[in-house]
């Protein structure tokens, strides 16, 4: 069984994004970048499926700048087999990403696409659902447990009121939630080994899909700032403030 894992290079989750003064976007110059945390979880799940003998090959794919090679290398060091980088100087919208991924799926014919539920830069939470729709494959989003057997995946999903279990027929698209697993740190020998693994370099043009943006970004602004309030001495002071000053209790 072959797994395809789309991974995105994003701002490191410990870094607070800063808006550019001219309000055209977020300043990413000299900012630490990393693999999107949800993609890391997806890679970990894929590698575990390989270790369990359920999967035979784990292919990583990223759409992004040249530097996204590092992101793919990270996944290869975790245990991925090979990578595909579709170089793009712009950050394509979810629909365009889904179309490119569909083209990759048509070529690679994986049995399962395992991906993150959300990229922490655009916070769209959309590509997995869109890819599933374009492929007409079933989807199981926000997975906190995945079990594969008999050409099916049983998936426990994090839903609004609790947990839901669904069964999807493979091939399918599964998106990872936070509690699916805890991604490993790659060991030094595996990092060295990953350097020799293949990354196929492609361009968006190679796939002939329409990636023209549908949205024009008019402005990227900073949200209203909250200022720190007061520190109080006692719980009684707090109750007094909440009742008499804020009027919220």
């Amino acid at each position: 069984m072959k797994l395809l894992v789309p991974v995105k290079r994003v701002i490191d989750s410990n870094v607070k994004a800063r808006v550019k003064p001219d309000q055209t976007g977020v300043d990413l110059a000299n900012v630490k970048m990393a693999m999107n945390p949800f993609c890391e979880i997806a890679v970990e799940e894929a590698v575990r499926l390989k270790e369990k003998g359920v999967a035979t090959e784990v292919v990583l794919v990223s759409i992004g700048p040249q530097q996204a090679q590092e992101t793919i290398r990270t996944g290869l060091a975790m245990g991925g087999d090979r990578g595909i980088l579709i170089v793009s100087d712009t950050d394509p919208e979810p629909l365009a990403v889904a179309k490119l991924l569909k083209a990759v799926v048509d070529e690679e014919k994986p049995d399962l696409v395992l991906m993150g539920k959300q990229a922490i830069d655009g916070d769209n939470n959309a590509v997995g659902q869109m890819l599933s729709a374009l492929l007409d494959w079933p989807q199981a989003t926000f997975a906190s447990k995945v079990e594969i057997s008999g050409g099916k995946a049983a998936v426990i999903r994090e839903v609004d009121g609790g947990l839901q279990t669904v069964e999807v027929q493979l091939p399918a698209v599964i998106t990872a939630d936070l509690r699916l697993n805890e991604p490993r740190y790659a060991s030094l020998p595996n990092i060295m080994k990953a350097k020799k693994k293949e990354i196929a370099m492609k361009t968006v043009a190679d796939y002939g899909v329409d990636v023209a943006p549908r949205l024009k970004v008019l402005k990227v602004a900073e949200p209203a700032k909250r200022s720190a309030g007061v520190k109080l001495e006692t719980a009684a002071d707090l109750v007094g403030k909440l009742k008499n000053e804020a009027g919220v209790i």
Binding site: A17, G128, V159, D160, Q164, T165, L218, E222, A246
Partner: protein
């Protein structure tokens, strides 16, 4: 140009996020219809018909819709979109599960978590855990939006729209609902509550979380939330998670107990009207957004707070 709002419901109850999404929709068009998808959900449709400003309610029912299977939900919405220029879906986990499918099937962009309707084609949404607000203009013929309900006031009651049935999209052949395990609670729903009491990693165990956070919440008539760390450690169920990748809340009062205030947590609560932090570390980032802070061990502070509330008759 008419717009469609998809109701947030559990087959029995209409959730308040629907009323808030109707308010967003009315900023796009005065012709707003509400689609209720579910099974045995007539009561939900009747409730939706009472929302002020709603033109008509469509009720689509099937087994898959009753279990909120995304493939069936998306097919139902897509089937109706010939008559609408936009569809607005509350940005819950359930809404986010199917709205992007609708967009992909219509070959249009998805605009997630809309916070403000600037005009019929221009919307503001948060990116980077809410550290930036992006205003985008859509060139698509049809718009598909998920709406962050906390950013809009709820449309009132008093409407009397008609309820019509609509055809449900085909059941999903390749996806089977197996079971669900819902958290039972008599407390208010987290995203709609006026007061939220949240606990973090400091609780140290599920027992402590129950013992400390829940009585305080009950005293205040509050909903209970949690940080990711508390959920990951099993102190609280997953659907309590507040944050960038959990639920977004904006109550009148948010009380964070033993929560440090990571970027991802702040993303889910910093639009609350009043924020209280109880943390023993005076340098915890949560104090940078808190209106009132107690630098204290919660083990002392929470019992004292309970007593002080009792003293004022709570």
């Amino acid at each position: 140009m008419a717009v469609l709002v998809v109701a947030d419901n559990d087959n029995a109850h209409l959730r308040d996020s629907t009323n808030k999404t109707v308010t967003a929709a009315l900023a796009v068009s005065s012709d707003v219809d509400v689609l209720v998808m579910g099974q045995g959900a007539k009561a939900v449709a009747d409730a939706a018909a009472k929302i002020e400003g709603v033109r008509k309610v469509l009720l689509a029912e099937s087994a898959d819709l009753g279990h909120a299977v995304a493939e069936a939900q998306a097919a139902t919405v897509v089937g109706l979109m010939g008559g609408y220029d936009a569809v607005l879906v509350p940005a819950t986990a359930g809404g986010k599960n199917f709205a992007p499918r609708v967009a992909a099937k219509l070959d249009v962009a998805i605009i997630s978590d809309v916070l403000a309707i600037v005009s019929a084609d221009t919307f503001t949404r948060p990116i980077y855990a809410g550290n930036a607000l992006e205003t985008v203009q859509s060139s698509d013929a049809k718009k598909v939006l998920t709406v962050r309900a906390t950013a809009f006031k709820a449309a009132g009651e008093g409407g009397s729209a008609s309820v019509e049935s609509a055809s449900a999209g085909a059941d999903a052949a390749k996806t089977k609902f197996v079971s669900e395990e819902m958290v039972k609670s008599d407390r208010p729903e987290l995203t709609a509550a006026k007061i939220v009491v949240s606990g973090g990693r400091a609780m140290g165990s599920a027992e402590e979380f129950h013992k400390v956070i829940e009585p305080l919440a009950d005293k205040l008539g509050a909903a209970v939330g949690a940080s990711r760390a508390a959920v990951d450690a099993g102190y609280a169920p997953n659907d309590y998670q507040v944050g960038q990748t959990g639920k977004v809340v904006a109550p009148e009062l948010y009380i964070a107990i033993g929560i440090s205030g990571a970027i991802q947590h702040l993303a889910g609560m910093k639009d609350s009207k009043v924020i209280v932090a109880i943390n023993k570390d005076a340098d915890a980032p949560i104090f940078q957004v808190a209106d009132y802070g107690l630098v204290a061990d919660y083990k002392n502070a929470v019992p004292e707070l309970m007593d002080a509330l009792t003293a004022i008759g709570k």
